[in-house]
Symmetry: C2
Subunit: 392 residues, 2 copies
């Protein structure tokens, strides 16, 4: 186990009607809030009305900024920063999924930054101040409701970059599984692939003596995989949504990765797909993850045997390790298909024309010096290209 | 799954040399600290010197109060409160196990309470202010380094009472597994029994649809039980201590019990033993827990079959549920014996003379109205007496 520094201060209010407490809880914390959200869905499904009713009941003053899109854009972040400064906003309440929350975090740090907030992403600048962020989660996926991470797309530069700071961890997140009932199937499936990937990126490691976090990772994965097909089939199943929703939060609050060298190659490879083709992050991960596994597993075959047996339920006896791992990867592919997720780049509408460009961007080779990505196996741009080709 | 409110803001700094950062981390937070600890062990094993060196290097001003004993006493808490007021202490740094930390929490809330701090325990009063508490853990057991709980013994009244508030959660806890190397065998074993009990109290429930937290509980238990015999045999095994130490923190930071009705009958029954006979809390739990299981398992036999199979490794096929559960309980008893823990009340030096008195105190019957204890099965004083007798 490696040394670690665990800090997950976000208070999680979970369950039916939990959103009704938001006004009361925020009242002592804000004089003027920014209500930040996406498109019209929360207005159609009643969530907007329920949340604003709670804010009104507590007499909370707020301004609004909607319009967050998947792969949230820098331009809207700029707009939000200007609005916060102009109106004297002191807290941001994001209502939505990872996109709205990530956009809120960008605005929260941008409000105190003297310059273009994109600098912070591009130069990985340290920040010492950000507006407090609270969230009401409407799509379980990104885990942004408890993490200090934010990913923003610079649409002019066709770049999608992530940034993380403990100062960006939400102070409070409300998770009401009933809010997930109206999600379309593809959003459910993309969210599930994303939260599973958050565990995979931490789970696959060369660090040894990791009994506890191995077990935590495996439990979160098994729980999500057991319950996700249930909600895909019946999006109004409260109990199954509770497991998936809670699982998505635990997947990304940091705990399951403590003391382990982490990987994150799949996330970095996927960000290139999303930046250029604007594909859903989870769908991209579902395509790339099995291909990545095939490409890297021989570098730590014991770890992948453990995955196949403990997570995918492969019988680990009387077979050679390669066969066990391949059966595990195959079962993962079948699980993603059962979730109606694409299994190839072409299924995502991505042809072979820009694979090399993306591989070079993902590893920095496009911008001068190459920085190999990944933890379990270090991947240069040619490795990344090989994985993209495996996923075609 | 039940609605829940999860809040675990304690930052956990974990690993070799992590204590060397304490001065630097506390510097911005305190003008004058109280250094609170137990007997002489931290002076003999070098921990006191290492911690005070870090405080001195950062120029932190502090006063000291040692002398905390297991089952920490109200009288020392009173002394600490007076000291904090007199010296203008603004933060308490507890160096020790659960006793030092629980005592620090009592002082932290007592410093702002206008009256005897014992009132807060006895009347379960709500508090809105407490001094911040940081901890350096030297005995992994109580989980107090991340919880908002404190248990204090009123030696005059022979009463041991617990109290919990989110305001008592430490802001920072340092866990260096090397600090556990000099623990005597009985403290190692008592600590292990205590942390396992923190999971048991949350795990055994009648709440349904608890896939994720079932799995988290089972993983924490398996990890502790796999590694505890290793450290008992070789107290300088860093890797095994890392698993046990981290496991003890996760066991009690709240996460594994979220959304579940909890039990806590064993803890309440044990507090009576400790209050009268001053036995080690963990040893008392190791004696009472299997007896409690025997007495209650038929009320939710599926839960206990799951425990026997998933935690104790009992083969769940081709046998009747009673036999599976009894084998699971038997294996737990064998595990405690392997940890060289007592298995009966007489092994703790407790005879039958005051069992009824303790049963009536545990359930409130001694003070007028009876309040049955426990969650999975409600226990009146006659049930508690029966469990004490099973444990004789």
């Amino acid at each position: 186990m490696l040394n670690f520094d665990f800090y997950a201060p976000a208070r999680i209010l979970f369950g039916k009607d939990s959103h009704k407490q938001i006004g009361e809880l925020l009242k002592p914390l804000t004089g003027k809030a920014l209500l930040h959200y996406g498109g019209g869905s929360i207005k159609k499904n009643g969530i907007y009305d329920a949340v604003t009713a709670s804010l009104a009941a507590s007499g909370i003053s707020y301004v609004e900024l909607g319009g967050v899109v998947p792969n949230p854009r820098l331009s809207l972040v700029h707009e939000g920063i200007a609005l916060c400064r102009e109106k004297g906003v002191d807290l941001i309440l994001a209502v939505g999924g990872g996109s709205a929350i990530d956009s809120a975090k960008a605005i929260a740090m941008g409000a105190y930054y003297d310059g273009d907030v994109w600098d912070i992403y591009e130069q990985n600048k340290s920040i010492d101040k950000a507006l407090p962020v609270a969230t009401i989660l409407t799509i379980p996926a990104a885990g942004s409701e408890s993490s200090g991470d934010t990913v923003i797309t610079n649409e002019e530069k066709q770049l999608k970059l992530g940034y993380g700071s403990p100062r960006l961890r939400p102070l409070l997140s409300v998770i009401n599984p009933e809010f997930f009932y109206t999600l379309p199937k593809n959003q459910i499936a993309n969210g599930v692939a994303d939260m599973m990937s958050h565990v995979f990126e931490r789970y696959f490691t060369n660090t040894t003596h990791t009994d506890l976090t191995d077990g935590l990772c495996e439990t979160v994965l098994r729980t999500i995989m057991r319950n996700a097909p249930i909600v895909l089939n019946d999006p109004a199943d409260y109990d199954a949504w509770s497991e998936v929703g809670f699982g998505g939060t635990v997947a990304h609050n940091g705990l399951v990765g403590m003391g382990r060298a982490q990987d994150w190659a799949c996330h970095m490879m996927e960000h290139e797909l999303s930046a250029i083709y604007d594909v859903a992050h989870g769908a991209g991960l579902a395509v790339l993850t099995p291909a990545w596994m095939e490409y890297v597993y021989r570098d730590n075959i014991n770890m992948f045997v453990q995955f196949a047996v403990n997570v995918m339920g492969v019988d680990g006896s009387f077979r050679d390790p390669d066969a066990i791992v391949r059966e595990g990867i195959d079962r993962l592919r079948r699980f993603f298909r059962r979730m109606e997720l694409p299994s190839t780049l072409s299924g995502l509408g991505i042809d072979g024309s820009r694979l090399e460009e993306m591989a070079k961007k993902a590893t920095g080779a496009a911008f001068g010096e190459e920085y190999p990505i990944g933890g379990l196996k270090k991947l240069g741009w040619q490795d990344v290209l090989a994985i993209y080709k495996l996923a075609q």
